[in-house]
Symmetry: C2
Subunit: 339 residues, 2 copies
Amino acid sequence: MSTSEHSRSAATVTMRDVAKAAGVSVTTVSHVVNEKPGVRIGEEARRRVHEAVAELGYRTNALAKTLSEGSSRFIGLVADAIATTPFAGQIIQGAQDQAWKHGYVLLVANTDGNRAAEDEAIAMMLEHQVRGILYSTWYHREIQVPDALHQTDTVLVDCFARGSGLPALVPDEEQGGRTAAEELLAAGHRRIAFINTTTPSPARTGRLAGYRSALEAAGIAFDESLVFPAAPEQKGGYAAAPRLLASGATAVFCHNDRVAMGLYDGLREHGLRVPDDIAVIGFDNQEVISAHLSPPLSTVALPHYELGAAGVRLLIGAEPSSEPEVRRIACPPVRRDSI
Amino acid sequence: MSTSEHSRSAATVTMRDVAKAAGVSVTTVSHVVNEKPGVRIGEEARRRVHEAVAELGYRTNALAKTLSEGSSRFIGLVADAIATTPFAGQIIQGAQDQAWKHGYVLLVANTDGNRAAEDEAIAMMLEHQVRGILYSTWYHREIQVPDALHQTDTVLVDCFARGSGLPALVPDEEQGGRTAAEELLAAGHRRIAFINTTTPSPARTGRLAGYRSALEAAGIAFDESLVFPAAPEQKGGYAAAPRLLASGATAVFCHNDRVAMGLYDGLREHGLRVPDDIAVIGFDNQEVISAHLSPPLSTVALPHYELGAAGVRLLIGAEPSSEPEVRRIACPPVRRDSI
């Protein structure tokens, strides 16, 4: 991967830059440079646009521009679950903001996890001579890299492929788990349960390791009987309530916000109040849940926006590509009213 | 807008089509047509690829292809809330599926509702000579059309602009409201409350009109004291519970799933069970909520996928553009366990 700095050069001047320089609207610039028939533009505005075009070296046709330069200003982004979670959207937004900042445009393709759609998406991106591809998944996992990705620069986002040689950006699950436990410790809790997922994943092992290290740092011995395996959704949290209550824990870290949502239901049925009777922290910051539970749920945020943004910076060399193949992005706490 | 049928012509043959015809992988096609140095491809596979390229009229460079034809195979999609709801993602997925089917590629831009980002997105799309633009909002509303949209074919998706002359696709709010009330009527309820939003919107007036017409068709007089205004979120539903209980209603239609989520909390605090003590139906089918409440919520789906798909068909003329400027798309019921 190139590590050269891409500054905004003449090749990346947009219609918007011309509009700004000429003090006119983008529409006016478009009318002038495209010599739109039947549109009346004042002589003065027309002159200013032509001057700005000349000064900035703007070329009217982005595609012709690309051809003459031999590589395009496109960055491909392959995403797998754009229609079912807001997480893919956050990756896209982060990637788009950085792409635009550096004069690139995103070609987004949603694959719904379907390999044929993925092949088609990657082939389309290669045909458009993309600068490179961000390959992203909506939850953190190990993947098999599609062969075609090796034909261009690729950065893996929210996933990784051991031994592939491809750089990857993932959430720092261990730090996130540690942060969750620390939030509960800071409120004075010492007997802290963890409802962890039953699904093998980097989130399962990483968050558990973080929970253990936070307890250890606080001088609290790890007690395996306080770790409850549960399906990583509402039903799992609901079903865990009786065991949690029997454990005597005063606080609980839930594997994700959906587990916490189900746990709220279970606790309510037993007549317990959050946080007075038991403090709860989630994970993910899936806002439609966490911000709107009663009481609103304190949680730890998955850094999807930053994963997308850092992915573009790494791809275009705006951020040095340092040694570790897998780079971890911090998961910050989000404080609401459940602790 | 053109109404001609765009069939898959030689101009839209993709690398994937060549791979299929030659019986090889997309990667192999790419290696052969790009004459990738240092890659070993068998003579037989190489020959089959060259034959398929010749037979299908495939051209290796999508951008050169576009230039030679004078207009591009891009469709622009402007979306306003891709990072905060799954709704924009569903519009994108529907649009992408139709675009790919007809040999087009989507240029997606998220604007976060920001006018400067919107101007930049539209200018970028015009520079890439898009076939046209879908301009979409994540909730149904009237908009002011950005000037630049008049420079290309535009279809409004999940929004409309009276007097703009631009075709628009929106959810059929009235039919949706009627469907919600009919689901409750079909279960034998006669005293049906409606927790409606306080926010003026097509959803507010449309769903109310649908609720009234369903009651009327069932021979039930409209009772204004059964319509409760509430903020269209969890807090609004929660706060409406006492008034709802005092009304003697046996069933309630909630303006959206978030209202129903809050109402569930309120009903539980009063010791009432859904659906035994009171039946509930939501609206939106925001799955992370509706599918996972306890009990899972019956609701009416917003047709975001179909809005995106129909938008592309209308834009490229694959669907006749009939008279009404605003076309309504049906909102189907989703049956779960709350009725």
